[in-house]
């Protein structure tokens, strides 16, 4: 009998960490300023790159978590309506001219409150103390998202034209410079969410097999579901509230990792955090420079790259797995 070492985890994570460091370095070196001063590099580019890293990590980790929790590889962080709540909060604040409230933190704070509100609502309606099956969560989320979208349209229509551009940009999703305190807040929320995710990573391997199988193998499914939903809500809320609805990161990154490193969430979750961070830092750097001095909203770029990439992945997968 050959005793095997479980899996070469450290190599994959090291590679992803290295990739993250490289793209962070790249993002510091390029930009529209001809002679980048130390102020520009450390005062503007670095905090922005760090925010992009946190947002990307949060979205990709949340995507990986929800895919397992909903037993659906096509789930993304926006599917449960938590983002819909955040967007509703953020857009309402913008539409009411809240850009300068709370020393500039008004929109993110209200958006985060929206995310928490949506999570609680989701939990009250669909989660049934964590007992409800995955599809009822999914259905509730989809319906809530649609409802939030219509409220957003309503709020946008009622606001004056000057503010609509801001709302529009927010819905596409973009990384902007934020106050250091806000950066720290996003980091703290992400760190708590990631800790919860890592604690339950192995249980998610079992839940990915179906609730009943997980139960048979000793998992307290309702408890894991409650914790993971809470962690997901923190990460999605934190990410969306500072950057708006950046699409495809939370779908593409975990999916790409599943294809390359496999389905073990003990590897997938830290991998998604590192990979998502690297992906969004790179995307945001490109968004800054491809049409410089015009800056693209990074959400437009991720959707542009992510859409076709996703179709290619899906096709590859369909070819691999018999119906």
């Amino acid at each position: 009998m050959i005793a095997r070492a479980p899996y070469p985890r450290s190599g994959v994570l090291l590679g992803l960490a290295l990739a993250l460091v490289l793209v962070l370095g790249l993002s510091l070196c390029v930009g529209s300023a001809e002679h980048a001063t130390a102020d520009i590099v450390w005062g503007i580019r670095l905090p922005r790159a760090l925010l992009a890293a946190l947002v990307g990590a949060g979205l990709a980790t949340a995507g990986a978590l929800l895919q397992a929790l909903l037993q659906n590889p096509l789930a993304d962080p926006y599917v449960l309506g938590i983002s819909g709540g955040a967007a509703l909060g953020g857009v309402s604040a913008l539409a009411l001219g809240g850009g300068l409230w709370l020393g500039g933190a008004g929109v993110p704070v209200i958006a985060f409150a929206g995310a928490l509100g949506a999570s609680l609502l989701l939990y009250a309606i669909a989660a049934d103390g964590g007992r409800a099956p995955a599809h009822s969560l999914l259905l509730t989320g989809v319906v809530f998202n649609a409802f939030a979208s219509s409220l957003i349209v309503f709020a946008t229509s009622a606001t004056d034209l000057a503010r609509v551009a801001g709302v529009f940009l927010w819905l596409i999703g973009s990384i902007r410079l934020v106050a250091p305190a806000l950066l720290w807040a996003v980091f703290a929320l992400f760190a708590v969410g990631l800790a919860i995710a890592l604690r339950h990573a192995y249980a998610l391997n079992l839940i990915a097999q179906g609730d009943e199988t997980a139960t048979h193998l000793g998992v307290d499914v309702p408890s894991v579901r409650r914790w993971v939903l809470a962690g997901t809500a923190l990460m999605i809320g934190a990410s969306v509230s500072v950057s708006g609805l950046i699409g495809f990161v939370g779908l593409i990154v975990p999916h790409l990792l599943r294809l390359t490193v496999g389905s073990d969430h003990r590897l997938l979750i830290p991998g998604a955090a590192l990979g998502g961070a690297a992906f969004l830092v790179l995307a945001d750097t490109l968004a800054r420079v491809v049409l410089a001095p015009i800056e693209l909203p990074v959400g437009a770029l991720t959707a542009l790259v992510g859409g076709p990439l996703f179709l290619v992945l899906l096709r590859r997968e369909l070819a691999r797995i018999p119906a």
Binding site: M1, I2, A3, R4, P6, Q67, A68, Q71, N72, P73, L198, R199, A201, Y202, A203, N205, L206, A208, Q209, G210, E212, T213, T215, H216, L217, G218, V219, D220, R258, L259, G262, S263, D264, R266, R320, I321, P322
Partner: protein, 262 residues
């Protein structure tokens, strides 16, 4: 001797439809108990009640003499392995990973596997001839191969009480027979073990079961050694099938279905 698993007066309804109507059942150490019955008899529901995932409206299930409802899922999983009917998994877990999940009830909070967990996984793979498939993605396997993976997972779990829901469905003749022979052998190797399974394979059930339970519309209509349960009259009555029931040279029961008489 305390039965490994015992059910008393299990009754359950989904909405207005009663599915179980007072089922009594017992799995003693060393026994292979086979539950048979037509479609919709409540066999899968019975298994779910026995494994504690379904809390029935009435009745009690005891594991090692104490009520299963009072135990945590982890405690139950350290005693009972369940081989489910459906093995659809939407993620491309590898066969080795799937089998390794059998160790879950014994791992610490972060799911770190010890050398002995890995060794159990490897020997379970070997026991079911799955080594050539170990690196394959589970969703790419055939139905019969998936069944063997789920059996290997239960073996890796290394517990004494097994509940199996149609383990030989979608297995070919050879693998189906192998499965029963293998289960009988596994049972003989250690007297504290017990297996309860649900199947539609009357022939295999008659041949291998120590005790047969015939479940019809949520009720146990007959229970005992195969020859007493599977008579030609009863098969005609319950399944609407004319069958020949006889003993072969070695004295074992052989059931041959001849034609439908509905």
């Amino acid at each position: 001797m305390t039965p490994l698993l015992e059910a008393r007066g299990l009754a359950h309804a989904f909405g207005p439809t009663p599915v179980l109507r007072g089922v009594d059942l017992e799995l003693a150490p060393g026994k292979l108990v086979v539950v048979v019955g037509p479609n919709g008899a409540g066999k899968t529901t019975l298994l779910r009640a026995l494994s504690g995932v379904l809390r029935t409206d009435r009745g009690i299930v005891t594991l090692d003499g104490t009520a299963i409802q009072g135990k945590t899922r982890r405690e139950i999983a350290q005693r009972i392995a369940v081989v489910p009917q459906e093995g659809a998994v939407p993620f491309p877990f590898r066969v080795r990973e799937m089998v390794a999940l059998g160790r879950a009830p014994f791992l610490g909070p972060f799911g770190r596997e010890s050398q002995s967990d890995v060794a159990r996984t490897e020997s379970a793979l070997a026991a079911l001839g799955l080594e050539p498939l170990a690196e394959r993605a589970y969703p790419t396997l055939s139905g019969g191969e998936k069944r063997r993976v789920l059996l290997a997972r239960a073996l890796a779990q290394g517990v004494d009480v097994w509940l199996l829901d149609e383990p030989t469905a979608s297995m070919d003749l050879g693998h189906g027979l192998f499965c029963f022979e293998w289960l009988a052998e596994w049972l003989r190797a250690e007297p504290a073990r017990g297996v309860l399974l649900v199947t539609h394979e009357l022939g295999l059930a008659a041949r291998f079961a120590d005790e047969l339970v015939l479940l019809v519309r949520g009720e146990v209509v007959a229970r005992g050694e195969p020859a007493r349960v599977l008579t030609a009259e009863r098969i005609a009555e319950v399944y609407g099938v004319e069958a020949r029931v006889e003993r072969d040279a070695s004295g074992r029961l052989v059931v041959s279905p001849l034609r439908a008489i509905r």
